[in-house]
Subunit: 102 residues, 2 copies
DNA sequence: GACGTAATTGGCTGTTTTGCCAAATAGGCA
DNA sequence: TGCCTATTTGGCAAAACAGCCAATTACGTC
């Protein structure tokens, strides 16, 4: 049961999401499709860094890309991932509650 | 917006979840409270490794612990995290679909 | 106090991740 | 062809993570 391959699959997806910039990217792509240069401008990191983040997300199956002339447009595949944000923020607020009690 | 501290908070929680063994632990704790030795037996890893995983989850605010004599019992704080599993499995199945098309 | 069990922590090593720069690739246009 | 823009990739060094063993702490019992 421990070696249930689903845990490995899931941890791969979660690992891909486990980065502030990548969460921000998913948030942006939830609103609309973006090309890399738009994302790069909003994020402010090096273009190569943004590109690597996108590769991680794509490899995890979270986003897809299409090429239009010399631009690459990315979009979110499963909008449900944004629902995760709410739960995770709830975890965080409970954490604060608990710390407050100590 | 990129440096919205919420993305940092969330990535911390997601990073804590992004490990097969830790997802398994959350699954077990969702069903019921467990002490470390029970978890260790089910997981099969070294006790010290299990303890470190538990520390990661606790530090992220996902679980809490209480000591009873010389045992430590852990329980899940936010059952909502298990809802995440469904979404993540959906991401994975879509990934396979897309790969099938290539 | 000595001993046994449960759990955590220190220390180490190998692996993975991150982010930058520079180089390479791909497409459009003069 | 040569140049420009958009994007990805190679290579590197710093940081973080993972997992094991050994040592330590904490609690109960004799």
């Amino acid at each position: 049961m421990k070696d249930d391959i689903r845990y490995t699959y899931m941890s791969g997806v979660m690992k891909a999401m486990a980065h502030p910039t990548r969460l921000y990217i998913l948030d942006l792509l939830h609103k609309q499709e973006h090309c890399v240069c738009e994302l790069q401008e909003k994020i402010g990191d090096d273009m190569s860094t943004v590109s690597r983040h996108l590769a991680v997300l794509k490899n995890a199956g979270l986003i897809s890309s299409r090429k239009v002339s010399n631009q690459v447009w990315y979009k979110l595949l499963c909008p449900c991932v944004l629902d995760i944000y709410e739960c995770v923020m709830e975890v965080n607020s409970r954490k604060k509650e608990i710390r407050g009690k100590l």
